[in-house]
């Protein structure tokens, strides 16, 4: 038992803090801070700076650029990244396809894709969910039929985040419809410029277009783009989804957002004081920061307890509470904005400050955090079954 960080970890933290706040351009971090929308170029630029300094894909095997860090170090890296408003390395590259290729792909495929993936020379999209296969992913219907040296792919994927920017898409397809649904799935790497592949944006309730439908009409994919073995991709998908639980709590982001909210509250004069003196708001801040403290400590405890690298089942707790707290902070921010929160479409000439204008879209957008990446219902199922034996 020890309260303080070890000297090494503290130094590690200080170095990262220094790096993130000096080497990643301020204008990029400002966009993140202000809940704005990053351009493709900004995301790529940021990730390349990280990659040049070995900070983009620390969880990968060392031969492909990974760092062999302790879970505590990974935790610190995540928190500091988020606190400094550095855009996180694109999850599809860094946390999803990269580790899968490193684990399951042929040497040839690794060499072809991994360095380009770490450096964002390839922007990866994810082709997993389908309109009728959400939480029940294994019931996916997109078909791939072997035709000589190619697979011919037909079907539809959806919820493809940032698919509009994608170069390649790693895709789960059904290669054997005759067997149990989990047993007939393969993973293909598909060039998004392939004929017959079409990306259609989905407008979300906050007006943003961050997700897409991806349609495949007789898309021909060379057989060498098959990851691992045919019909074995359910294992790869489980590996991918179970991977990288550190950071799932998003403590750093929420902590930064809550500190911002305090500034907002203190900037609003009411009577003799500010909204931060209003017991309704001050108690709400205390409740949230106490829950956030509990979450942070739990993340640290899980990190500390998982020295063997296996995810602690408590990671479902992190996802559940972490997503709820993200939502709670955006809700608080709308309430701080008050009547000004209606001015969500106003431009920079508005008398309403940027944060207040963005507060409701952010609140609406954040509803997704309890749905995606394994909905909170799925997490409750995991906890009740796996941990409580129910």
């Amino acid at each position: 038992m020890q309260l303080t960080l070890s000297a090494e970890d503290a130094e590690f933290r200080d170095q990262l803090r220094e790096f993130f706040t000096t080497k990643i351009p301020q204008e990029i971090r400002d966009v993140v801070r202000d809940n704005g929308e990053l351009t493709r170029e900004q995301l790529v630029q940021s990730m390349r700076i990280l990659n040049e300094n070995g900070l983009a894909v620390p969880s990968w095997p060392t031969e492909w650029g990974g760092k062999d860090w302790t879970l505590m170090q990974k935790h610190i890296w995540h928190e500091e990244l988020q606190r400094a408003y550095v855009p996180e390395p694109l999850a599809f590259n860094a946390s999803m396809i990269g580790p899968v290729l490193a684990q399951f792909a042929t040497q040839e495929m690794k060499e072809r894709f991994l360095p380009a993936t770490a450096n964002m020379d390839i922007w990866w999209s994810q082709g997993f969910s389908e309109p009728d296969a959400g939480s029940d992913l294994a019931s996916l219907k997109t078909r791939a039929v072997r035709d000589g040296d190619h697979y011919v792919v037909n079907g539809q994927k959806t919820w493809t985040t940032l698919g509009q920017f994608g170069d390649w898409i790693f895709t789960l397809v059904r290669t054997n419809p005759e067997v149990k649904k989990q047993a007939g799935i393969s993973m293909l790497l598909i060039d998004m410029k392939s004929p017959g592949l079409e990306v259609r944006p989905i407008e979300l309730i906050d007006g943003g277009k961050e997700v897409n439908e991806v349609w495949f009409t007789d898309v021909r994919v060379p057989v060498e783009n098959l990851v691992g073995e045919e019909n074995r991709a359910w294992d790869y998908a489980k590996f991918l989804l179970g991977n990288e639980r550190v950071g799932i709590a998003r403590v750093g982001t929420t902590k930064a957002r809550l500190a911002q909210a305090k500034e907002f509250a203190a900037s609003i004069k009411v009577g003799d004081g500010t909204l931060l003196d209003d017991p309704q708001f001050s108690t709400r801040f205390v409740e949230l920061e106490t829950d956030l403290l509990a979450l942070e400590l739990t993340a640290l405890r899980v990190a500390a307890n998982s020295a063997d690298g296996k995810p602690d089942p408590a990671s479902s707790v992190l996802k559940l509470k972490g997503s709820e707290l993200q939502q709670a902070v955006t809700e608080l921010t709308v309430d701080l904005a008050g009547p000004a929160s209606l001015a969500s479409g106003a431009d920079d000439d508005s008398t309403v400050p940027l944060w207040a204008r963005r507060s409701t879209p952010a609140y609406l957008n954040t509803r997704k955090t309890t749905i995606y990446g394994g909905s909170n219902e799925v997490q409750r199922q995991i906890i009740s079954r796996t941990i409580l034996g129910l």
Binding site: S139, I205, D206, A340, G345, T360, L364
Partner: protein, 381 residues
């Protein structure tokens, strides 16, 4: 005590539902209406006028129907059911309410007549930079030029402020207090910058720079009028929220019965159906308070009792609206996040209503200051 709608009220509901429910029977129609300026259908607005709904609460001599808050609540609820974007709440209830309460005969005849006929969109320009739902103004100030008044300062956000044909503007009076003024938005010294709001509506920043203004009625302190008019709008908004919540819950229930996951419909999962049941409880409790508050307003109660009713309704519906809005999306899953599907618009509108006239905690704080003044809260004055 009688909660039953009479036959005329039932007929009104059916007529409104016939019109507006038909106009927006397909959610795509509503999406189209909010996509282009002014963010609502001028055609539907005209139909509402033809049916007499835009003059509903005004006296007959001003082109109105002389109806009570019960009827206003019915219309608001029906508009809520289809997330109709027409500015009934802000133009008829709020701006119209202010004109009816404070205007001269001539102003009432002209302005209420214009609203009733569907010829004039009137916006109530009251919110200011830094304001938090107070019934007073301080940023916009009025100057008495003898024969004429001028206003200076900024109002934002003003719902439908860019489309509006007439502005009713609150402003700090030279001698103290807050007055109400009629402003022609095309007059010199008025500039407007319109924009979309997240709920599909429109708002504007209205900058006044020595703009000519006519006092609404007398140029005297209208804080009491503004407070009462805001309370009326809160109660109408509560009724709109009931319509929104009811359909949001029904839409969610339908989705749960039709959508399959893991080979079975979602309503097989008790953890989901019980949460839907909790939403229904929220709805029914809120409906009772919304209808009650309408009755309180309809029966010419004291300003104090109306304020009490408006605050209770705002609080109750704020709590319910958040739970319903959030859970409706969550119970849908991913599809609930998409703009093509209807449910997000319900959540967005509930969020807008919650912050338009004071959210739950705002009213909670006001009510809490007086909790020691009485032993029991009685629904009857």
């Amino acid at each position: 005590m009688d909660f039953n709608y009479d036959d005329e009220q039932q007929a009104l509901r059916e007529a409104v539902r016939g019109l507006i429910g038909k106009a927006y029977s397909d959610y795509e129609e509503r999406r189209r209406a909010v996509a282009a300026d002014p963010g609502f259908s001028e055609q539907v607005w005209g139909q509402l006028a033809e049916m007499g709904l835009l003059g509903l609460p005004f006296e007959e001599q001003y082109g109105g129907m002389g109806a009570s808050a019960i009827e206003v609540g019915i219309v608001a609820e029906e508009l809520g059911r289809v997330v109709a974007p027409e500015p009934f709440l802000t133009t008829v209830v709020l701006a119209g309410g202010a004109i009816a309460a404070a205007g001269t005969e001539v102003q009432k005849t002209e302005l209420l007549g214009g609203i009733s006929a569907g010829e004039s969109i009137v916006a109530f320009a009251h919110a200011e930079p830094g304001s938090r739902w107070e019934p007073t103004a301080s940023v916009v100030t009025a100057t008495d030029g003898g024969d004429t008044w001028t206003l200076s300062g900024t109002k934002e956000p003003v719902i439908q402020g860019a489309r509006a044909d007439v502005l009713i503007v609150s402003a700090a009076l030279p001698e103290g207090g807050t007055g109400l003024f009629v402003v022609d938005p095309s007059a010199q010294g008025v500039s407007r910058e319109g924009y979309r709001t997240h709920d599909g509506g429109r708002a504007a920043r209205v900058v006044l720079d020595g703009a000519a203004a006519t006092p609404l009625g007398a140029a005297e302190d209208r804080t009491g009028v503004i407070a009462r008019v805001l309370d009326g709008a809160r109660i109408a908004a509560a009724n709109e929220a009931i319509g929104l919540m009811e359909v949001a819950i029904n839409t969610t229930s339908s989705y749960l019965t039709s959508r399959k996951q893991f080979g079975v419909p979602l309503n097989t999962f008790q953890a989901l159906t019980f949460r839907a049941a909790d939403l229904y409880v929220q709805l029914e409790l809120s409906r009772s308070v919304a209808v009650w508050a309408s009755m309180v307003l309809a029966e010419s109660s004291t300003d104090e009792f109306v304020a009490q009713a408006a605050a209770r309704a705002s609080l109750r519906i704020s709590r319910a609206g958040r739970q319903v809005g959030q859970e409706a999306i969550q119970l849908h899953g991913g599809i609930g996040m998409t703009a093509e599907y209807s449910i997000g618009a319900y959540t967005s509108r509930l969020t807008a209503l919650d912050h338009l006239f004071g959210d739950g905690n705002h009213h909670l704080g006001l009510l809490a200051c007086r909790v020691g003044d009485y032993a029991e809260l009685e629904p009857v004055p």
